[in-house]
Symmetry: C2
Subunit: 349 residues, 2 copies
């Protein structure tokens, strides 16, 4: 089969690799219908994180089940399934607590010996899915092709934006500011509106992303950053800052922007993987009773909740995909996102 490999920074290739086979009794083999490139895939692409030899890349996909192991009870051959960006059993105490990213038996796409060895992550034609009954969510009934992009967002960005809003404790009537206008930040706007926020401030300076932010529910746009951005948010929120701020970038600067844009007693929900900002400044948090909550988003647990709204069209997170390419053009997909020519790229095997 074909799959995407990263050889070195800016060196993405689609190559022929062995087809996956059932390895443990709990596996499923999924034929990929759509995959995509994640903002975090750009870290090795840009050389921010090192690449030690060529290896497979990707962690978001939807597809159709072709085979299942003997121990699989829920997932069936022929199911259309959504895979989260990690593997989990969905039964352990951490999964039951809603933190399936800390599953006691789970792991990450790539290779984990206890999960039966290497498992591709979706930027290819087929995937072996360990712990299939826990990891995969079947979507039964007819699926229209135009629903695929929305369903694919449930494997990462829509659930991650939702996690920012849930972690921040967004409630009806809240004012919410969103730091970051990538796919996750845009999905966080959808999530904030869905949870009842009435003032939603998108911090964005890119016209095409501002437009999508408006479509998704942003009531105000703030293009400024730093002190001027903080002041602009305060002017829209009774002079005190937003009740909840959703940090969807992961840099020291974006976290600082988020903390300072939050009102006393408010909460930052953060989902941007920390990159270059290893510490949170405690005094600005303590003195103003601003909390910080979030982390690597346990999206598996959100799929069932968000799925009906995606299927009905009540929310349209699939609109974050502004470019669709065949799998063979994965290198161009990375380049388009790297150069910000695309918000998020969907790949079709």
């Amino acid at each position: 089969m074909l799959a995407t490999l990263i050889h070195a920074p800016r060196d993405i290739r689609v190559e022929t690799v062995p087809d996956p086979v059932l390895s443990t009794g709990g596996d499923a083999i999924v034929k990929v219908v759509a995959a995509c490139v994640c903002g975090s895939d750009l870290w090795p692409y840009r050389g921010v994180t090192p690449t030690h030899g060529a290896h497979r890349i990707g962690h978001e996909f939807v597809g159709v089940v072709e085979a299942v192991g003997d121990d699989v009870r829920i997932i069936e051959v022929g199911d259309f399934v959504i895979a989260p960006f990690y593997v989990c059993d969905n039964t352990c105490i951490n999964c039951r607590n809603g933190v399936s990213t800390s599953c006691l038996h789970g792991g990450w796409w790539g290779g984990e010996d206890h999960l039966g060895g290497f498992a591709d992550g979706g930027q290819g034609e087929r995937v072996r899915v360990p712990l299939a009954d826990g990891t995969l969510v079947p979507v039964r009934g007819e699926i229209r092709d135009d629903q695929v992009p929305g369903l694919l967002t449930l494997s990462d960005v829509m659930g991650t934006g939702h996690h920012a809003a849930v972690s921040a404790g967004v409630r009806p009537g809240d004012s919410v500011a969103v730091v970051g206008d990538g796919a996750v930040g845009l999905c966080a706007i959808i999530a904030a509106r869905r949870l009842g926020a009435t003032t939603i401030i998108a911090m964005s300076r890119h016209p095409e992303r501002q437009e999508l932010a408006r479509v998704f529910g942003a009531t105000h746009l703030v293009a400024e950053r730093g002190d001027v951005g903080v002041t602009a948010v305060q002017e829209l929120t009774h002079g005190i800052g937003a009740d909840r701020v959703l940090e969807c970038v992961g840099t020291k600067e974006s976290m600082d922007q988020a903390i300072r844009s939050t009102r006393p007693g408010g909460m930052v929900g953060y989902v941007g993987a920390p990159n270059g900002g290893p510490e949170l400044p405690v005094r600005p948090l303590f003195n103003r009773n601003v909390g910080v909550n979030g982390g690597i988003a346990p999206v598996r647990g959100y799929i069932e909740e968000l799925l009906p709204d995606v299927l009905s069209g009540a929310i349209e997170p699939g609109r974050v995909f502004d470019l669709e390419l065949p799998l063979g053009e994965a290198a161009e997909a990375y380049a388009a996102m790297d150069e910000r020519r695309a918000i998020k790229v969907l790949l079709r095997p």
Copy 2:
């Protein structure tokens, strides 16, 4: 009148100072019934924070109103009142949001020009209280002398322990670990039990404080710290850590202990004024979805909620006072707390 001054580290003196007078129309003059020494008063006492010249010290008291300004509407002469450790109007948007420590018009005991200048903080015979209607909570009806210590804790430590529990989101059935066995940590145990926690782990290695922790509701004691302490908490909590951890010290070490003792998806509620640990490590928080919430406790807003339970004896936070001295012996009060001969010292003018 007599009041307590700090001249330099370990130099506490009770001296004659001018009686306070009404300065703004919103003031009250309160005759102090009882005051106390706070853990944070030990910072300048120990020289951790500098003392630039002799000045008054103290910020927790209860007393009886002797006079009120022309604009005071709620507080009446003769009222027994509880004062929080700060001044607030109790009407601004931050106060209404439950964050009266960020009151737009309030301030701190000591001197704030916009509040009418210097205001004593309670370790003396009388206090001028600015914004009296917002700051003070009257306790109407007969007050027995044995109720005074409990009422005095509402001016700081009981409300602060409660804030740790509220900030951590303690709910019925939760497991809670409390880091810190000072007066605030002990009150946090009371608060956790009051909010329905069923497993309450006191991290304490002082026998007399362990005993009080048990009386207040601790179900388990962990004397160890560091890795061993973390493991001990995990063994009591299904191997994953406590749902909620209440950090009541304020050092880098105690915050580290708290974060690592929290289960994935759990929350640290912190109220220990950060001292020597200016940063929170983001990766251990992000990777395990551990949140951090809290800050300088807005105790004014908790007094009405906690007061009935103190008056009825349902909770007994006054037991944190294990030494009572006349105001004239304030120097000994500081020494006893500094040397950990006393948990908390009550002063009677």
